[in-house]
Symmetry: C2
Subunit: 233 residues, 2 copies
């Protein structure tokens, strides 16, 4: 459990320019607030404003809500990442904890107003937005044109890159999210996700240990199963 100044210091180190004056840093700090969010809880936000949220610890999902509790996980966000949580428009969005998480919350408008003449901060925000846009476009392709197996394979490749680690010589992931979260992210049902885990397991592309553990013996092979473009095409 971090104190607010510790959290902010971490945020500043990653997302604010190194040469910022102490006074300027304090002005940004004054705009932030800390929030601890328990598992499966949503971060409480003013629905009518955009927010900028820094993930200090845990793991989170950004969820878009349509009518009839049909939810779509629009993205997962892990420690040290910055997320833009949009205000309610055609649909509403919530940032929810997949694991107990410590978050740093800013009003988007206040933050950009303070950063309006600081190129380094603006560049940092732009990079954050570009990363999210790029992942979101990849997701559109997956949701629009890929089969269930390809979607799960692509998801696992992306997770391996973002939160995977080497364990006794094999690329491994400890998935923080439930099958429901994965299903809501891939536009599938939990049953279909479960079946695709079985398919990939039978193809020898992965091994599972318990609910959360996944070992990937051959990342390239899994990428191929995800329908990624090869050198040739």
């Amino acid at each position: 459990m971090m104190t607010f100044p510790e959290q902010f210091e971490r945020f500043a180190r990653i997302h604010l320019p190194a040469n910022l004056s102490d006074a300027a840093i304090l002005r940004f700090q004054a705009l932030g607030r800390a929030a601890a969010v328990g598992r499966e809880e949503a971060l409480a936000l003013n629905l009518h404003a955009d927010h900028l949220v820094f993930v200090c610890s845990g793991a989170t999902k950004l969820v878009a809500h349509a009518s009839d509790r049909r939810d779509q996980v629009v993205g997962f966000h892990f420690p040290d990442e910055l997320v833009v949580v949009p205000a309610r428009a055609e649909h509403s969005y919530t940032l929810e904890a997949v694991r107990p998480s410590e978050l740093l919350v800013f009003d988007y408008r206040d933050f950009t107003e303070l950063a309006r003449s600081d190129p380094a901060v603006l560049r940092s925000l732009l990079e954050c937005a570009r990363g999210s846009l790029s992942r979101s476009r990849e997701k559109s392709l997956a949701l629009g044109r890929k089969t269930a197996t390809e979607r799960l394979a692509g998801f696992l490749v992306a997770m391996a890159v973002r939160i995977g680690s080497m364990r006794d010589g094999t690329l491994s992931i400890d998935l923080p999210m439930s099958r429901r979260d994965i299903a809501d992210s891939l536009g599938l049902t939990i049953e279909t996700v479960s079946r695709q885990f079985s398919v990939l397991r039978e193809l020898g592309l992965l091994e599972t240990t318990g609910k959360a553990g996944v070992r990937i013996p051959d990342l390239r092979a899994l990428e191929a199963r995800a329908g990624y473009l090869t050198e040739a095409a």
Copy 2:
């Protein structure tokens, strides 16, 4: 047909700050090139670099390509809009003309390098990225969790807002894109798109004239059919 300086002037008026010095404007101008792209042609780009493209005239689609010619239209872009076209990664992207289009092309890296200390230009880029991210997230929700009818209704609402106009008292759209483009944007087939047009027509939510003309007598009703959140929820 615009000359390159005319095109650039238009771009500068919309996306560059008004108080930029003439010298600075010329430096940006030196980075751009004009490109005319015919119907269904792709803009020729260096595949290994990101680009920034300004649409001067016409209508364009940003297409993500997976294996087996399964294409996903990731977004449509109309005159005065700025598009980020990503370099090839897991998938490749092309910007293609839906109608003959005049485009202004920049290398993304060069452009941001020149803008690196100019907050106003950076803010303009950030706003562009945020707009695209927001539309992309809405698309993820539609592709992941909505029915064919809801997707088409949502698409038509969005087009009405972006390129619709009032004609003899009724909100009307002259769709620049084919059924195939719409299908590739909504993650459906052309046959299904066609059937959903019939469904919405039979529901009295729209009238069609020829292939491209759409009249929307009641936008609110169409929005409701798109599964948008209502005030209550």
